[in-house]
């Protein structure tokens, strides 16, 4: 099923490229309100129609894709790096170090992150720009999202630690840092990549869910999350099916990510 994976990869590249070029591709400014054209159906001027305030849906979708993808990717990188550091240390150094890392991981797993996010939003200075607010939201997602990955990485490091490869490296006089950096970390690459690709859609979906609660990225900046809030009025969908565009794109991207990461496991 290599074809499907290639197709999924092409979709991801296409979506990423169009979001990067959003400023050139978007027919209008994402925040501009064409108030006389509110809630219009798709037309030549507005290819995906307009929203309640007369803003061009396509321009908002392109910009929203950029924000959601960029922020989710950065947050996933941060979370995977944190998970790698904690997992490596916990798995390699047994005893009290492992215990402390375990407690820390459990603590973050049990953290009521929704309340943490609410508190963060309330503590932010009022002159915080929308960009900073969006960054802070994803930073917090990364800060609380590393724990499950850390457990997986720790388990892998524990099994690697006692492998013949590492025993030989130690026997040849390699120090701990060298063993970790040159022998264990490269062997963790597939695990780290898998964790990263799992976290990207997870963060995208979390931001979308936060958007439904009104806690995602602030207006007028678009994101998949705040664009999806329109779907709460699901009875609107049969009359205006084009409002499904952000949901379809989200499914397409998350699905493609899954095929890229684990396509072989699913199909073979």
């Amino acid at each position: 099923m290599k074809v499907i994976r290639v197709l999924a990869l092409c979709i991801l590249v296409l979506v990423a490229a169009s979001s990067v070029a959003a400023d050139f591709l978007a027919p209008h400014d994402y925040a501009e309100q064409f108030r006389q054209h509110a809630n219009e159906a798709p037309s030549r001027s507005f290819p995906l129609g307009t929203d309640d305030l007369g803003r061009d849906r396509l321009s908002r979708l392109l910009q929203g894709t950029r924000i959601s993808l960029l922020c989710a990717t950065l947050a996933a990188s941060l979370a995977t790096s944190t998970a790698a550091a904690v997992g490596l240390i916990a798995g390699y150094f047994d005893g009290w170090v492992d215990e402390i890392a375990g407690v820390l991981t459990d603590l973050f797993l049990s953290l009521p992150w929704l309340f943490a996010l609410l508190s963060l939003r309330a503590l932010l200075p009022l002159d915080t720009s929308t960009e900073v607010s969006a960054g802070a939201t994803f930073l917090l997602l990364a800060a609380v999202g590393w724990a499950p990955s850390a457990r997986v990485i720790r388990a892998n490091v524990t099994s690697l630690r006692n492998s013949r490869l590492i025993v030989h490296a130690r026997a040849y006089g390699c120090g701990r840092a060298r063993v970790l950096w040159l022998h264990i970390l490269p062997n963790l690459r597939p695990v780290l990549l898998a964790q990263f690709w799992i976290l990207v859609p997870a963060f995208i979906l979390t931001e979308a869910n936060l958007g439904l609660l009104g806690l995602g990225i602030n207006e007028p900046m678009p994101s998949w999350g705040n664009m999806l809030t329109e779907l709460q009025n699901y009875q609107r969908i049969p009359e205006e099916p084009w409002i499904l565009a952000p949901a379809l794109l989200l499914v397409l991207v998350v699905g493609s990510l899954q095929f890229v990461v684990s396509g072989r496991n699913i199909w073979e």
Binding site: D127, G214, E219
Partner: protein, 539 residues
């Protein structure tokens, strides 16, 4: 054969019985927190209190006149310090026990008991520190207030009389319905009170309905869906978008009742101790600046885009729905960015075509907060952002969690401007004095002042006290009109809209007279009746 006949008779009896069962069904959005009418604090408990509780006087939601209920007559004495009621005779509680003045005295005593917290208790406590009741025989009762109260009779519209010495007040009620069963998270079932005293003009015992089923449905879309399928008899407070959908689908029974008592507004933080830069405080304390912002806001677009046309531009807290207290001389400010720029120019601001700057060269940029999760306020905020951008003002719009918002506006004063709404249930503005008096804790723009910070606030204080000190309606009205006019002139609070009351009612429900005042649909519950029950069962 005999067995067959018996079965046939039984089936016929069952059919006849089912045909009689007229059950009204509507949705509530959460479980009731209490069935005790004196402890009701939230909307669902208050709904049940309204449907089951008997009151001395009831405000007719259409005429806005008080009508006798358990009291046949009343008299306000001693300049509002005393009210005497003559009670209706031969009235019984739902358990058959007779109603008397002792029950009114016991209810008053309970509502004023220290530690009892509820909406009604707060209402009575705000009317006077000490309220006592004395029975004069079986059918007369006098209520004494420690201080004069304006329109004290209005308080009794919400006070459900409970039986004296009853351990569970919800088991013996005087209203048209009584509690039958409750399944947490699913429904509340009320059944007809067989001892209800009211009789229709045609001589029939009321209520017409046999029972009411309140389905607990948190999701408004599910509620609408079930209404469309005929499983619910009405939907109250329909969202404008859903209302439009119902209208498009030619659904009979959609009705725009007109502007509600509610309002949406914003204000600037004028607290001199607020943790804000001095130049921003100067902006917010400037009348010209506030009026300019008001003129730069396109209320018509807010009405058209956010409320789909189902709202009215607002000039005050009091909407057209409040027949007596509405000040018809006040009109909502027109959208006029040129006027806004002129006012700002007069106040020393300069607009270079892109950015507005004050005398000190500071770019005009401020933030305003609102509660997260409110779609309408977020849309309003987004519209205002673009409107103010046209006159060079950058607006940072921050929806935050409601408790944090309350903390900021009431305690820390850590905000610049705030967009909120007021859900109003009272028609007499006396209950708003906490907002208008400069010493009031809800004096939004600068609460709890030791003495009025400005001459116009001192004038509002004087007028507020004047309307409180007199019982002459014309004098009170004139004073309150002037208060509204001062607030509008000073743009102390910038009013945006009064949303309309939108309802959808099943055509099989009769005698529904939707009101702009809450409760919009069931205020005359005892007179409602259902037809087409056969069809409903098939559904």
């Amino acid at each position: 054969m005999t067995r067959r006949i018996v079965l046939l008779v039984l089936a016929l009896v069952t059919v006849m019985h089912t045909e009689r069962a007229a059950e009204l069904r509507f949705a509530v959005h959460s479980d009731p927190k209490t069935f005790d009418p004196l402890l009701a604090t939230e909307e669902v408990s208050e709904t049940i209190r309204y449907l089951t509780g008997g009151v001395l006087i009831r405000l007719n939601r259409q005429t806005q006149e008080l009508e006798p209920e358990l009291a046949t007559s009343w008299k306000v004495l001693d300049g509002g310090k005393r009210i005497d009621f003559v009670l209706r005779k031969n009235v019984c509680f739902s358990d058959g026990a007779p109603f008397s003045a002792a029950d009114v005295v016991a209810t008053l005593r309970r509502i004023m008991a220290p530690g009892l917290t509820s909406g009604v208790a707060d209402l009575f406590r705000s009317a006077g520190e000490e309220i006592t009741a004395k029975a004069n025989g079986l059918n007369e009762v006098s209520i004494f207030f420690s201080t004069p109260v304006r329109s004290p009779e209005l308080l009794f519209d919400q006070l459900a009389i409970a039986r004296a010495h009853s351990a569970a007040p919800e088991t013996a009620v005087l209203g048209p319905f009584m509690l039958q069963s409750h399944k947490s998270g699913q429904y509340v079932l009320l059944q007809r009170n067989p001892h209800y005293w009211k009789i229709s003009p045609q001589g029939e015992r009321l209520p017409h309905l046999d029972s009411i089923r309140l389905d607990v449905l948190a999701n408004r879309e599910t509620e609408l869906f079930r209404f469309r399928r005929g499983e619910l008899d009405w939907v109250d407070k329909v969202e404008p978008e859903a209302f439009e959908r119902l209208k498009k689908g030619a659904h009979p029974g959609t009705l725009n009742v007109g502007p509600s008592l509610d309002s949406e507004f914003l204000w600037f933080n004028q607290n001199p101790n607020a943790p804000l830069p001095a130049y921003k405080k100067r902006w917010f304390q400037s009348r010209l600046f506030r009026r300019a912002i008001s003129a730069a806001m396109n209320r018509d677009d807010v009405v058209r885009l956010v409320y789909r046309g189902y709202a009215h531009g607002a000039a005050s807290f009091v909407s057209q729905a409040n027949k007596f207290w509405f000040d018809s001389r006040l009109t909502p400010p027109s959208y006029d960015p040129q006027l806004a720029l002129r006012l700002l120019h007069e106040d020393g601001f300069r607009f270079d075509g892109r950015i507005l700057r004050d005398r000190g060269g500071n770019a005009v940029e401020f933030s305003f907060i609102t509660n997260a999760g409110s779609k309408t306020r977020i849309q309003m905020g987004t519209i205002l952002q673009q409107d103010l951008m046209k006159i060079g003002i950058r607006l940072n719009f921050l929806p935050i969690e409601f408790q944090s918002l309350i903390e900021r506006i009431t305690r820390t004063a850590g905000y610049e401007a705030c967009l909120l709404g007021l859900t109003n249930f009272e028609i007499d503005p006396n209950n708003q004095m906490n907002v208008w008096l400069s010493s009031g804790t809800h004096h939004a723009w600068n609460p709890g002042q030791a003495k009025p910070a400005t001459a116009w606030e001192a004038e509002i204080d004087r007028l507020a006290q004047l309307q409180h000190a007199t019982s002459a309606p014309a004098v009170r009205k004139a004073a309150f009109d002037r208060i509204q006019e001062i607030v509008a002139e000073e743009a102390a609070i910038i009013f945006l809209v009064h949303p309309d009351v939108l309802v959808a009612v099943s055509p099989s429900l009769h005698n529904v007279k939707p009101s702009q005042l809450a409760p919009h649909l069931y205020w005359n519950i005892e007179h409602l009746s259902l037809s087409g029950l056969e069809q409903r069962r098939e559904n």
